[in-house]
């Protein structure tokens, strides 16, 4: 039973560029959330997708956008990258809301 998988694991981008991160949820899960974790901090909620729609959104600018596909996989897009966007981006999945949430290994983004 595959857990939550994310790609790429590491990437380096230049300020102003755009990045796309990908996530496949745990088998049987239909709800995907994205979190940003800066060094020494807890993860911060970006947004949540269910039935291909953004259901909840945290305090992140519109440069952060996402998508959920019919197979429940998801993408996180960040435009006009800033140095402060450097962080570990975590994808989490669950079966609906209110159930246990499982995390992927994350994608380390470094913006230079």
């Amino acid at each position: 039973d595959a857990g939550v998988t994310q790609s790429p694991t590491h990437l380096i981008k230049t300020r102003g560029q755009q990045v796309t991160l990908r996530c496949s949820p745990k088998s049987g899960h239909d709800t995907v959330s994205w979190y940003q974790q800066a060094l020494g901090q807890g993860p911060q909620f970006i947004f949540q997708y269910y039935e291909e729609e953004e259901r909840q959104r945290g305090n992140f600018p519109d440069r952060f956008s996402g998508h959920q596909f019919p197979n429940y996989s998801s993408e996180l897009n960040v435009n006009a990258l800033l140095l402060g966007d450097s962080a570990l981006y975590l994808c989490a999945s669950s079966l609906g809301v209110g159930n246990t949430i499982y995390f992927g290994e994350g994608s380390w983004l470094t913006v230079v």
Partner: protein, 110 residues
């Protein structure tokens, strides 16, 4: 806005010691509290607590929730070096998103 405060922020113990990690919270329409262990990347799930006073236990780890006083504790007995990690506490409120604390960095020395 939902808020989670963990204490201590860091802790150094020797193998065999028992540790207690604390988590207090403020949340609108509390639904659940979760504990995760984060070693390098992915937070791995430990416990989900929804009811007060019911201890959840897994091996040397246990946790309990007090919904009246708005806190939870995570206990680790007979600590081992493999327990070294960041322990994250998170709450789920009315909007079904996780709000995390900053975590407690636990270091277990041999």
């Amino acid at each position: 806005e939902d808020k989670v405060v963990q204490s201590p922020l860091s802790l150094v113990v020797h193998e065999g010691d028992t540790v207690t990690l604390n988590c207090s919270y403020e949340v609108t329409n509390f639904r659940s509290l979760l504990w995760y262990k984060q070693e390098k990347k992915a937070p791995t799930f430990l416990f989900m607590l929804t009811s007060s006073g019911i201890e959840k236990k897994s091996g040397r780890l246990s946790s309990i929730l007090d919904k009246k006083e708005l806190f939870s504790i995570l206990n680790i007995t007979a600590t081992q070096t493999g327990d070294s990690a960041v322990y994250l506490c998170a709450v789920v409120g009315s909007n079904y998103k996780l709000t995390f604390g900053k975590g407690t960095l636990l270091t277990v020395n041999p």
